[in-house]
């Protein structure tokens, strides 16, 4: 059984007991435990079910490489699926559920898949479920989906109870990994004066060294780690972060750090995760190495564990997965596990060393402890189902004929070590194959390249393939010096701290155990535990021609599980190379992609949620609208009132009321969102003549002109009223949301094409609150305001004629008044300082009471302009419409040699007389045409689609006219007045509409000229 040991546990505090639950069962652990170590302490060896065969799965590793121990963690709005037990610190009240089984972990119906394993090989689903066709969607796929998928989905209504944030940090040298190599590299770099950030993913420092032993500068590694940490903490230019994983390395020295602030203490307040966005001149990856499993039959049975991980559990947390352990290895390191387990009082039944000549001094030490070591031997097969019960032993160099069977409840395996090269590789660092250690390590000649074209990542220690304590420290010393140098500092060149550890014999590459295992064994030999990929699957892929490593990965799903192949990739690759009769380096690796280890979506999103999900742009009158019934419409990042709904009224009623009232009495529109750009300079007129299709240089000061803007490609991009302020100053209005775009557009041309023209542009959109005062009583209300204030600007027809503007005071407010109209009514647009906006609006509302004032929203604005046949950018235009389509030829200056869009208009398709053109549309029965409907012509086109001859661009119910009105683009429309055309609706009805003039209301334009 797995249990807590009487001694050991350097990371736990036995005086602090913690209660938690697993699958509802109450369990106890200690402060400092991980959920994984605590589960082992409670004899919970089995922790989940595999993805495909639903086989029982136990803990294999002790760190982030763990493929099996994934749990659903927490409850309610803090539930999270697929959380690794090995990276979850235990806390009081923790609640975990195992995954991928039904009805229970112990009894899982889908374990039937295990029995069918012979059929469900790699890629079986590509070969079957083909007939009959409907069954895939309705039967096969739902079953597959339900049986796949690992963790439970969070509740559909879950709203994350936690918050997240980002943090920008700039360093000369970023060191990732707080083991002895990372500490040493950080120290060396910091001593040069470089600003250093050191990240460690765990809540403890020192990595493996304190577990693995040896001495550094005559000290135990643990003591050396403490001493070095103290030194680093004493340096102003060093920042240390634990619980902060280096998650990804990106171009130009960008790196992500994933800091888990409250995962070990949920609900304590403050953000749960912090995503560090780091810019570093140099990055040292001291990310260590990961032990590889050995590929033998039954290597997935709970109780089979990586040798170093078993040692970690015993030393760090004082737990053991079993009482009788068999160790299988191809290298010397696993002997440390035998020594550690023996020291912890666990029986080591055998050490099976595949090497005929065995190991070095560590082996001797093990033998001296009375442990039986057998060389040239291997595991033929592990016995057991839900946990290990025994091991069949055979010769490594054979087919697996068992020579002996021993009783055991745990197996420690070591197939050698793979440097963690992920972060090195994320941004293009290349690898070389190290024959001696049978692993890929960073190729120092081909690092990721930074903005200056030089390498910006340096691997250090075990992550760089350095084997052994002394080598790792030496490598770290060099890496620290190199990083400081490359970051522009002069490191003090010195010797690495002296380290001593036992000499080790060379390891032996073992990719299959035993070497000639037969197919029955190979079908029980796991490569990828979580995704259930076996040696036989990779061999099958190779046989079927999936020769590229990427093909094999995708065909078998090897390495595509949530551990991203940390344990399985190299073993699988070796099997593939062998099957292809190729060398491992020729086959190559798949691409390493960020993140190193999964990071929360919450952290990626950061603070952007709820209120601050996106900026919400508000006009100065926003709060007034909000408390006066505004039904909001998002327009870009602005929000504008669609209509002001009164109690007992529908939205539709409100719109109709506003439309009628504005025509009959007085309406107010908050027009502050319209863009306002000041354009000034000796060349401003010339410049605006290029920007607009019409002539702006001839506009007289004091006057306004409606202008159109096209892109260089000819399409309409914006419109608005331009006012000439003085000899060399114009004010250009843009559409809502057009201010920044058009401002940028103008600056682009000024800076990159006509940079010798003397023109300055300033965006004053938000300086001004603008109110459209519209309706027959518009002048009255303004004059009343002036009266109350004891004077103000003359707003009479004579003093301020249509399409002119004046500066002055209205109601005591400094204001600019424009006589312009987008409704056909008597209309003033009054601009006041934004800080006065609300006060001015309120004053208008008060003064307007006697004149029947009502605010109106965007829908009313739309209807009023449609009744008058005015176009709206975004309705009549959609990025494919040119002014000629809208009958706006009058606004295309014939006198100008050039303006943006002019050349484009002469291309054949734009000059085509068959282009659809703007007309008014009236349904025969007075109903409202459906929005976006198309008019059909005769027959179908070459692709069998019905031919169309036009479409609706705007359609509304006009409460003034008591009928539907619409505008649309119709082929040869203006010459087909009076014709009735047909618009099929999506409701099955055919809408018949007559082509008419687009001005529906006050055709002579009398109302606006009073």
């Amino acid at each position: 059984m797995s249990t807590r040991l009487a001694k050991n546990g350097r990371l736990i505090d036995r005086s602090k007991q913690i209660e938690f639950t697993f699958n509802g069962k109450r369990m106890k652990g200690y402060a400092g435990d991980t959920l994984a170590s605590a589960l082992l302490a409670n004899d919970q060896m089995m922790v989940g079910r595999s993805f495909k065969y639903h086989r029982p799965r136990g803990l294999v590793a002790a760190g982030p490489e763990e493929p099996n121990a994934l749990v659903g963690l927490g409850t309610g709005d803090r539930f999270e699926p697929n959380q690794r037990a090995t990276t979850t610190e235990l806390f009081s009240g923790l609640s975990a559920q195992s995954q991928n089984h039904w009805p229970s972990l112990d009894f899982d119906v889908l374990a039937i898949n295990n029995k069918l394993g012979r059929f469900l090989t790699a890629g079986f689903y590509y070969k079957m479920f083909i007939h009959p066709r409907p069954l895939w969607k309705h039967v096969y796929e739902p079953i597959i989906r339900q049986s796949a998928g690992l963790g439970k989905a969070p509740d559909k209504e879950l709203k994350d109870a936690d918050t997240y944030e980002h943090f920008y940090f700039f360093a000369d040298v970023l060191v990732i990994g707080g083991g002895v190599a990372g500490l040493q590299a950080a120290k060396v770099a910091a001593q040069s004066g470089a600003k250093v950030l050191l990240l460690e993913q765990h809540n403890y420092w020192g990595g493996r060294a304190p577990v693995d032993g040896g001495t550094i500068e005559g000290m135990e590694p643990g003591a050396w780690v403490e001493k070095t940490l103290e030194e680093l903490r004493g340096m102003d230019n060093v920042t240390l972060r634990d619980r902060c994983m280096g998650a990804g390395v990106y171009d130009h020295g960008y790196a992500l750090g994933y800091e888990r602030l409250t995962d070990h203490a949920p609900g304590q307040g403050g953000p749960r995760h912090r995503l560090w966005r780091i810019r570093a001149s140099q990055i040292v990856t001291a990310t260590g190495a990961i032990e590889r499993p050995l590929s033998f039959a039954g290597n997935d049975i709970p109780g089979v564990m990586l040798a170093a991980s078993m040692r970690d559990y015993a030393v760090n947390w004082g737990v053991t997965p079993g009482q009788k352990v068999v160790v299988a290895t191809n290298n010397d390191d696993a002997y440390r596990t035998a020594i550690a387990m023996h020291g912890a009082g666990v029986e080591v039944v055998r050490v099976l060393d595949t090497r005929d000549s065995g190991g070095g001094s560590l082996m001797e030490e093990v033998r001296a402890l009375g442990i039986r070591v057998e060389c040239g031997r291997a595991i033929a097969k592990v016995k057991g189902s839900k946990r290990v019960t025994g091991v069949a032993i055979c010769a490594q160099n054979g087919e697996g004929g068992a020579q002996e069977e021993v009783e055991a409840d745990a197996v420690a395996m070591s197939g050698g070590w793979s440097p963690v090269v992920h972060l090195w590789s994320h941004c293009g660092g290349k690898l070389i194959w190290d024959e001696a250690h049978a692993n890929f390590r960073p190729d120092p000649e081909r690092p990721p390249l930074g903005a200056d074209g030089n390498g910006f990542v340096i691997a250090a220690g075990a992550a760089n393939g350095a084997a052994g304590l002394a080598d790792a420290l030496h490598d770290a010393q060099t890496a620290g010096e190199a990083a400081a140098n490359a970051a522009g500092f002069t490191p003090k060149v010195g010797d690495a701290p002296a380290a001593e550890a036992p000499e080790e014999n060379a390891m032996e590459a073992v990719w299959l155990m035993p070497a000639k295992a037969d197919i029955k064994l190979r079908m029980k030999t796991w490569l990828d535990y979580q995704n259930d990929v076996k040696v036989s699957d990779v061999q099958l892929a190779a046989r079927e021609g999936f020769e590229s490593v990427e093909h094999t990965k995708r065909y078998t799903t090897l390495g595509m599980a949530t551990d991203q192949g940390k344990l399985s990739n190299i073993n699988g690759l070796a099997i593939l190379a062998d099957s292809l009769g190729s060398e491992i380096p020729q086959v190559g690796t798949t691409t390493f992609r960020p993140p190193y280890h999964p990071i929360s979506m919450g952290a990626i999103g950061g603070e952007a949620r709820g209120e601050i999900f996106q900026p919400l742009r508000k006009t100065p009158m926003y709060d007034w609208h909000d408390s006066n019934g505004a039904d909001w419409e998002p327009v870009g990042q602005w929000r504008r009132p669609f209509a002001y709904v009164r109690s007992g009224e529908s939205l539709h009623d409100a719109v109709n009321r506003e439309v009628k009232n504005t025509r009959d009495n007085l309406g107010l529109l908050d027009a502050s969102t319209l863009g306002k750009l000041v354009v000034k300079g000796p060349d401003a007129g010339k410049f605006l003549d290029m920007m607009y299709t019409n002539m702006m240089s001839t506009l007289k000061p004091g006057k306004c002109r409606y202008g159109l803007m096209c892109s260089e490609n000819g399409f309409l991009i914006d419109d608005g009223v331009v006012a000439r302020i003085d000899e060399d100053t114009w004010l250009c209005h843009t559409t809502t949301g057009g201010a920044e775009r058009i401002h940028g557009h103008m600056e682009e041309w000024l800076q990159t094409e006509w940079w010798d023209w003397k023109v300055y542009v300033a965006n004053v959109t938000e300086q001004l609150a603008q109110v459209a005062v519209v309706g027959p009583n518009a002048r009255k209300v303004l004059e009343k305001l002036n009266e109350k204030a004891g004077g103000g600007m003359d707003l009479s027809k004579e003093a301020l004629p249509f399409m002119e503007w004046r500066d002055g005071e209205i109601g005591g407010f400094k204001a600019r008044a424009y006589r312009i109209s987008f409704s056909g009514e008597l209309s003033y647009e009054i601009a006041v300082a934004a800080s006065d906006g609300l006060a001015f609006w309120t004053a208008l509302m008060e003064a307007g009471q006697e004149f029947g004032v009502m605010p109106y929203g965007t829908e009313c604005l739309h209807i009023l302009r449609a009744e008058k046949g005015f176009i709206m950018i975004g309705d009549e235009t959609d990025g494919t419409v040119i002014p000629q389509d809208l009958g706006l030829n009058w606004a295309l200056s014939k006198k100008k040699e050039d303006f943006l869009g002019k050349r484009a208009h002469s291309r054949s398709h734009m000059a085509d007389p068959d282009r659809w053109q703007l007309v008014g549309l009236e349904t025969v029965d007075g109903s409202v045409l459906p929005d976006g409907a198309y008019a059909v012509g005769n027959g179908v086109n070459a692709n069998g689609q019905k031919n169309t001859i036009g479409r609706v661009t705007s359609t509304y119910y006009s409460s003034n006219l008591g009928r539907g009105i619409a505008m649309g683009l119709v082929k040869h429309g203006p010459s087909r007045m009076g014709e009735v055309i047909e618009f099929p609706g999506t409701d099955g009805k055919i809408y018949k509409a007559k082509i008419v003039d687009q001005v529906f209301y006050d055709k002579e334009g009398e109302k606006q000229n009073v």
């Binding site: 943090f167 601050i612 800080s835």
Partner: protein, 188 residues
């Protein structure tokens, strides 16, 4: 009657740092040839401060000048006198190619102070906020989460943040969230 109010009308938040609406601040966008002696003199006359070096702000008793771009300054003057200053500037710059406009009401201005101020900004701006990198007198235009913003650091260790008026509420909320009392990073 005119009774102007600033975008956030005096709002305050206190956490890791103090966030306060700075109230109404007179501001003028001035575009022109920054090397021109006429312009330099006009700026000095308007603000009492000299044209600052690129990336800096120069402050005087009653105002200041921030460097916005190679041909643009942001002049800081008392709110009440801004119109008069614009007129003076126009007069002083007659004959120069220049543009001076009042943008006092187009902005939200915040004061961010306290020990956590650097960390609060470092959460939302891609700028090195360490004391070695960002010093009093520096002025930086950048991105603040999802909007454009600018800030400078005064000699008392307070940051002054300028953003567009329409997003003042967003920026205030952003600063407040980033200044959550339990979100200290502990590096600055």
């Amino acid at each position: 009657m005119s009774d102007p109010v600033s975008a956030m009308n005096g709002a305050k938040f206190s956490g890791l740092a103090q966030v306060e609406d700075s109230g109404l601040q007179g501001m003028i966008t001035l575009r022109g040839d920054l090397a021109s002696d006429t312009l330099k003199a006009a700026v000095k006359a308007a603000t009492g401060a000299d044209v600052p070096a690129s990336g800096h702000v120069s402050l005087s008793a009653e105002g200041g000048v921030a460097w916005m771009s190679p041909d643009e300054l942001l002049l800081l003057v008392p709110y009440e006198v801004v119109d008069a200053k614009v007129v003076d500037l126009a007069e002083a710059l007659k004959g120069e190619h220049a543009l001076a406009v009042n943008v006092s009401d187009a902005r939200g201005v915040f004061r961010l102070s306290g020990d956590g101020a650097r960390e609060v900004l470092a959460k939302i701006c891609p700028v090195d906020m360490s004391a070695e990198a960002f010093k009093p007198g520096q002025f930086r235009r950048t991105r603040m989460a999802q909007v454009a913003a600018a800030f400078w650091l005064d000699d008392d260790g307070a940051f002054h943040i300028v953003c567009f008026r329409s997003v003042a509420a967003y920026v205030f909320n952003l600063l407040s969230v980033s200044a959550h009392p339990q979100s200290k990073v502990g590096v600055y």
